[in-house]
Subunit: 213 residues, 2 copies
Amino acid sequence: MADRQVPLVVIKRLPRYLRYLGDLLDNKVYRVSSTELSDKMGVTASQIRQDLNYFGGFGQQGYGYNVELLYNNISNILGLNSGHKTIIIGAGNLGRALVNYGGLQKRGFEVIGIFDTNEDIIGTTHSGITILPYSDLQSFVKDNKPDIGVIAVPKANANDVAHDLVSCGIKALWNFAYVDLKLPEDVIVENVHLSDSLMTLSYCMADMEESKK
Amino acid sequence: MADRQVPLVVIKRLPRYLRYLGDLLDNKVYRVSSTELSDKMGVTASQIRQDLNYFGGFGQQGYGYNVELLYNNISNILGLNSGHKTIIIGAGNLGRALVNYGGLQKRGFEVIGIFDTNEDIIGTTHSGITILPYSDLQSFVKDNKPDIGVIAVPKANANDVAHDLVSCGIKALWNFAYVDLKLPEDVIVENVHLSDSLMTLSYCMADMEESKK
């Protein structure tokens, strides 16, 4: 697999490589040079070569990269071929949008359950997944052994839910609640903080207004 | 407002300061030292002082920070007090989740319209906002002058939608489609690429598995 010394900043760039390589494959392009990839992606060819060198000599002088091989290697590095059973906590608008989110399935994340405490929606079905009562969480996890819990509950409940998931044995969380979860060090947490993104946008707008004055 | 020399990495940290300061205000705490803030946020007191120094001397020796003043100053720096009229393109699960997303309103982003091309859902109302036909976009923008367009359409349509928005005069986009938009340099684009986040999570899991071997 990946060398553990790969800097996180390089890892963070891999999804973008994968996206462009996937687009090439969709267009039946099977060979690409670092210069061509550089033009498409708007980064320097030397950065591309440097980044991809971390993962062994996938490129060949005078031939370029084998797109399919590179795509598969990066997929493997990112663990996308492993298959991850995923459960979602919170079946509000966000939770339901995530059940329908094709990106999950495409990256090997299979949603096997969604949970809520709201009696009015428990038992209803979305994209083939029935909303279960939150009180069933523990027994469900015991029986089905999901790898990942998605936290799509309000901020005030997020830490409690995170602790429940961890105490059931789930070690990886995708957290949408706008709070820093306080958890043991061996739990992997990836945050999606939409408010932070919105404030960055807002700042850039304010800055642009200012620069016009 | 903000000095234009503030590094983006500091700007990116401001939302998190704002969140913690907001929590303090909610708990009626009106004064905080950099040491207390440091304990809560898990960053060093010296980083806090250094970051906040960019925005003038809000702290006082022996007193600490006035929480409300600091909160308001950071809000202003982030442009959150300006009020932004926002429209959403795409009324699928994601678009509808965003109409309902309280964070928008809370940060001064008022959703004034949502658009789709799907005849089956045009005319239906979500959180008080009626889905309008995409063909009305141009006249709506002319009459209502929104500042921000949110792109919540499939990847294949995202660049077309972005160009339509820009040609109507919208200069700031919040893009959820998994594609790099190709736009004039003066257009502000903030991307939320959920797939990238998911792949980072997946990589960290693969890496942890590997380290157990």
